[in-house]
């Protein structure tokens, strides 16, 4: 059996089926929706960090761009939801194209410049001078398109698209080329990999899924403030989940989200500082003791994780 088909059957199909049917068993749809958003974001971080080695501290910028890319056309031009998801994706891609020059930087320089870019995007969107266009700091309300059930279904579809992308990356020459660039871009270039084009494509793919997630998030919640959709905790969570599970795999980020976000919800989110505390300590512990994530444990025992 070809690997793509095997991964699709044993990872994508069960995950999608679970999220499709779970709300009818346990009626907390919002909880599952949040799971989907974080699964998409963690896989998005996986695409750009796991496969190409660029660590996006400002990943939330694309999520926010997607949320506003969805909301502004709906608010000003009364666009309906599905085409607005297209503009959400467009906004994220546009931001990513604007930021492609950052890919010339490496390591820490890229991570911090990306963080600065996300903060700049937030400051522009929430600036009181732009209240007429973006509602500035006062937040967005989209009662006209509110349709949680429909939005949930679309979110499941976006998750399926994201997982397919990662399955493709994991099993294709394209993904192999990206990992070669991550290990040594000069050697990869010598071996005939088009370094600039490949990493730009990965960057845009990663932005695209975050933009779609942001768009469907805006649609699902309908009322939000700029600091909600540009909150650094989205970047932190997505990076922690992906790292915890193990990047450059398909199953790693999924495991990370289910274990960590599951714990987050079981213990309860009344005191977010305590989670910041735990996640901070977890990041430090992971770096020191398990830098390749949970799946590296399986690999140590000789089990190959897709």
């Amino acid at each position: 059996m070809r690997k793509e088909i095997r991964d699709t059957l044993f990872i994508l199909v069960p995950v999608i089926a679970a999220f499709y049917y779970l709300p009818s068993i346990y009626s907390n749809q919002l909880l599952f929706f949040n799971f989907i958003v974080f699964l998409v974001l963690a896989q998005g971080v996986n695409i750009i960090y796991g496969f190409t080695g660029y660590l996006p501290f400002g990943y939330v910028g694309f999520f926010g761009a997607g949320a506003y890319g969805f909301s502004l056309p709906v608010m000003h031009f009364h666009l309906s939801a599905l085409p607005a998801l297209g503009t959400a994706a467009g906004a994220a891609i546009l931001l990513a194209l604007l930021l492609t020059p950052l890919l010339r930087l490496s390591g820490a320089y890229f991570a911090i410049a990306n963080l600065a870019a996300a903060m700049a995007a937030f400051q522009i969107v929430s600036n009181p001078n732009l209240t007429d266009i973006t509602k500035g700091p006062y937040g967005i309300s989209l009662s006209g398109v509110f349709a949680p059930d429909f939005a949930y279904g679309v979110a499941v579809a976006i998750l399926a698209f994201t997982l397919l992308t990662v399955i493709f990356l994991r099993n294709s020459r394209f993904g192999l080329a990206l990992q070669a660039i991550r290990e040594d871009s000069v050697t990869a270039g010598m071996a005939g990999v088009d370094v600039v084009r490949m990493r730009t494509l990965a960057w845009l793919l990663s932005a695209l899924v975050a933009g779609l997630a942001g768009g469907v998030f805006a649609w699902y919640v309908s009322v939000f403030y700029p600091e909600t959709v540009f909150s650094t905790s989205f970047s932190i969570f997505a990076i922690v989940f992906a790292l915890f599970g193990g990047v450059a795999t398909i199953a790693g980020p999924i495991l990370g989200v289910i274990i960590l976000y599951g714990t987050y919800n079981t213990i309860g989110i009344t005191e977010p500082q305590y989670f910041q505390l735990i996640y901070g300590a977890l990041i430090m512990g992971l770096v020191l003791f398990l830098p390749d994530g949970l799946v590296s444990l399986f690999k140590r025992w000789g089990v190959n994780v897709p």
Binding site: L102, A111, Q123, V287, L288
Partner: protein, 291 residues
Amino acid sequence: MLIYSITAGLLFGFYFSLVGLGLNLVFGVMRIVNLAHGSFLMLGAFLAYLLFSGSGINPVYSAGLAFALFMLFGLPLYYLIVPRLLSSKNPEMLSLIFFFGMAQLIEAIASIEFGPTERSLPGRALGEGPVQILGQSFPGSWVITAGICALAVVLVYFYLYRTRLGAATRAVMIDRAEAQASGIDVHRTSAIAFGISLGLAATAGVMAPFMIGSITPAMGEGINVAAFAVIVIGTLGNPLGAVFGGLIYGVSLMLMQNYLSSWADLLPNLLLIAILLVRPSGLLGRKVRYA
């Protein structure tokens, strides 16, 4: 207005030099970006707040105390984590993630301990009435802060260029392996540099209520971007480049605040991105770009 902006900018510039100095020292010696720098600065700010509101201690003394305290804290911290990080297979990236986690941890502890409310110190805590410079009047606290920061910078200069340990530190900055080969105790030198860096961050933190405004547990992140902007404008890895970067940063911040006030928050972010893209080695620097 223009003279006012530029003079105030220079005063702030000295402050931002101090903010960037410690970060740059660590980067120069260990090639590590300490993303918890802003969090240590925040802790220093809370120390000053507690000492002043609790027992009325003048922040000038708190600055000295904060330096000593955080320096002593930094030494064991170095031995606990940095050698381990440096020997991992991707030190640059892993240490970035590690200190990011540490920043989250410190911020969380601070918000559990102090709550999210904004606190501030009155300017009179530091100095009396306004000071006249070039016919313009400035708050006394600004001038005193700038003075303390300038003093700290001079002391660091003295340490690096006039002491034996400073010469060893500069040798480690140039080439870690070669320094080790010529008999320098690399870990001891680096540990002291790390301690000094945390001490400088905390000192800058003590002054933060007068220059940056109210203090909150979450202030570290914005400070990090500002500090990184300062050292990128100066030169990464050259501690005294931070002074140059700080002055440029301070003046442009003041010009922005006086002429385009509602967009002033954007400045550090845009400046950082622009300089990284156009001249990543900094305005004074040699070539360092990799990709």
